[in-house]
């Protein structure tokens, strides 16, 4: 069957190519894409190429990267500009950036330098979550080698372009993956998200113009420069082109990160890429993009491909492409209980609907899971979701509400089976 991913079986990997010791600078080579950019293009042209390639952010929201770069205000003397590379990958089910830092860190660093050139920033803060201590050590060592080879620092390769990369170590907070709270965290404060607008391009770190991109997004930039925007736009699904790192986990035979074009059929990813369900069991549910996207039932994935448009039609989102497959024995109430527990723990506590709402969600789902809930609790949970969505500074409350609402609506029988029979009957929910 022809899919949007085209001939994905013969796809040549560009983000995580099968080269031994690629993480070493000597194997990776000396930043040919950066050399080409510095020699041939102006910053506006680089942003234009990336815009033309159709590269969309890989951090979850899927915002066009070239467009984001063009939002930076005109250069003013004495006003520094910053790039942030978001490597604070904490979405449950997502583990692609860690593999990138481990197997191909130089491509990420090269992407950062090209982005720095495109937005004329002098400094990039590479924010890596504190749990990845070993990977920070690895990146630090490779970055030092890049500095030695004059690929980063003052007067890069004698072209007069100077830029620095500073690695910032987080300390374990999911909320730091949100762009404004990442900036607060960099400034040395509690990571409370800020109200937008002003957007980071106007007022970012320390009030200066800032662009934030995911580590995976920036790693896509060097191949775009080397092979051209048309090549990139031709990979995978139109409208959301390029290679995607699918992080597959759960009850499959071969979990792990796979690089394939966007627009892969979910059934292909399950049966042919990840080796099918463990123990030959039947599929029950798929989470296509990390904890915060709506879960899909097994009968909802026929013909659904991994790109923003198709997943939206199916009633979910691409998110970070961290996929979780669950088999027929899975207890969806226990699943939802763990998800609500996660959001309760990670809510930063700034806005009341989220701080209290996530706690009540956990309490209610726990009560149902313990067999002490009644049917009215389900409607109460759905009502709670409506009360939380769109009423907070950042999207964490929405991200907590979506899985709750959709898991209940799509697996209502599982929940009703665990509820105590009581005098209250379930109201019908639209």
């Amino acid at each position: 069957m022809a899919t949007k991913a085209g001939d994905w079986r013969s796809y040549q990997r560009v983000l995580l190519p099968p080269v031994r010791d690629l993480h070493k600078l000597s194997v990776y080579g000396d930043y040919a894409a950066l050399r080409k950019v510095l020699a041939e293009y102006s910053p506006q042209e680089v942003a234009g190429i990336v815009k033309k390639s159709g590269l969309r952010g890989r951090g979850g929201a899927g915002f066009p990267t070239g467009l984001k770069w063009s939002f930076m205000p005109p250069i003013k003397a004495g006003v520094p500009r910053f790039l942030c590379c978001n490597g604070d990958e904490s979405e449950p089910g997502t583990f692609k950036d860690r593999q990138l830092m481990e197997f191909n860190p130089h491509q990420m660093l090269e992407g950062i330098l090209i982005a720095n050139y495109a937005i004329t920033a002098k400094t990039c803060y590479l924010y890596v979550r504190g749990e990845f201590a070993d990977w920070i050590t690895l990146i630090d060592a490779e970055l030092a080698k890049a500095y030695e080879a004059n690929l980063v620092g003052d007067n890069i390769m004698g072209t007069g372009f100077s830029t620095d990369i500073v690695v910032h170590k987080g300390a374990g907070a999911y909320i730091c993956g949100e762009e404004t709270s990442l900036m607060e965290s960099l400034e040395g404060k509690r990571a409370y998200p800020r109200i937008k607008p002003p957007f980071p391009a106007q007022s970012g770190i320390w009030g200066y113009p800032t662009t934030i991109n995911n580590a995976d997004t920036l790693a896509c930039v060097p191949p775009i420069i080397k092979r051209g925007a048309e090549w990139f736009a031709g990979i995978g699904a139109p409208g959301h082109p390029g290679p995607i790192l699918y992080g597959i986990s759960g009850h499959v035979n071969c979990p792990g990160v796979y690089e394939y074009p966007s627009g892969m059929l979910i059934t292909d990813l399950l049966e042919e890429v990840a080796g099918g369900m463990r123990g030959g069991k039947a599929l029950k549910a798929v989470v296509p993009g990390g904890a915060s996207v709506p879960v899909l039932r097994a009968d909802m994935i026929d013909g659904v491909t991994m790109d923003a448009g198709s997943l939206k039609k199916a009633g979910s989102m691409l998110g970070t492409a961290g996929m979780l497959f669950l088999d027929e024995d899975t207890d969806m109430v226990a699943f939802l209980r763990r998800v609500t527990r996660f959001y309760h723990h990670e809510s930063c506590g700034q806005c009341t609907p989220c701080r209290d709402g996530t706690g009540w969600m956990e309490n209610l789902v726990t009560r149902i899971d313990e067999g002490e809930g009644n049917l009215r609790d389900l409607d109460l949970l759905l009502d709670l979701c409506n009360q939380m969505e769109g009423r907070t500074v950042c999207a964490l409350a929405d991200a907590a509400a979506w899985p709750v609402r959709n898991t209940i609506l799509r697996f209502r029988k599982d929940f009703e089976a665990k509820c105590r029979s009581s005098m209250w009957t379930a109201k019908t929910v639209a």
Binding site: G93, H168, G172, S249, H251, P255, A291, D331
Partner: protein, 224 residues
């Protein structure tokens, strides 16, 4: 109205606990001061270096009681309240004394359904403590943590904010505890990408039998 200040419903934290470190211990060496100065130079204001400095302080002192936070604030020239705020926001900064080895068992959903809670409860039984507690000899602290970003090699755990231990079976958990008791930290382990398994000679787990028991539910506190 009940007097919540004098009779709090939830016990309030002690604002001025007895110090754990004496005056002589509370100082950074010259080498550490150079490191801090380098971090400060990388940010527009000294505030930016607070997270790196807290990491340094935690490595040096083991945990971050108020007197250490005060030292960090003085070193960077920022208010104590701000340092306290940062230290209490992030889960990886330890505000209480922990065991020599802290075992962070990931139980987020990918791990939950591949045996994360099995592993946690196994370690609870083996060490004789509940999650969140420290053993009597002060060797181990066991914690349940949120997603550590290694879902493809679940179930997994992290030792003392350092190395990841992937694909933990009961036998590997036993071996890990023995090694830690003998003072050997696990090495950095790279898990081969599944697509490279054949060409580059992988070290990925291919036996899946040991994590068939993924049905364990989280055990609520009140049911214990």
């Amino acid at each position: 109205m009940a007097d919540f200040i004098r009779n709090p419903v939830v016990t309030l934290p002690d604002r001025n606990p007895a110090p754990h470190f004496c005056e002589q211990e509370l100082a950074f060496t010259e080498e550490e001061k150079t490191k801090i100065a380098r971090w400060v130079s990388q940010y527009p204001t000294p505030d930016g270096a607070v997270m790196w400095t807290l990491w340094l302080a935690q490595e040096k002192f083991g945990f971050l009681p108020p007197e250490v936070l005060r030292l960090v604030g003085e070193e960077l020239g920022i208010p104590y309240a701000q340092v306290y705020g940062v230290a209490t926001f992030y889960t990886q900064y330890y505000k209480q004394k922990k065991g020599v080895c802290v075992l962070d068992v990931c139980t987020c959903f990918s791990c939950q359904f591949t045996g994360g809670y099995d592993l946690l409860h196994y370690l609870e039984e083996k060490l004789g403590i509940h999650a969140g507690e420290t053993t009597a000899d002060g060797c181990f602290t066991l914690q349940e943590v949120e997603c550590l970003g290694a879902c493809g090699s679940a179930p997994m755990l992290q030792v003392s904010n350092g190395p990841f231990v992937h694909c933990v079976t009961r036998a590997r958990a036993d071996a890990l505890i023995d090694a830690l008791k003998a003072g050997r930290m696990p090495e950095f382990a790279s898990v081969t990408l599944p697509q490279d398994e054949d060409e580059l000679g992988g070290n990925r787990r291919t036996d899946v039998a040991f994590c068939e028991r993924y049905a364990t539910l989280p055990i609520a506190k009140h049911t214990r």
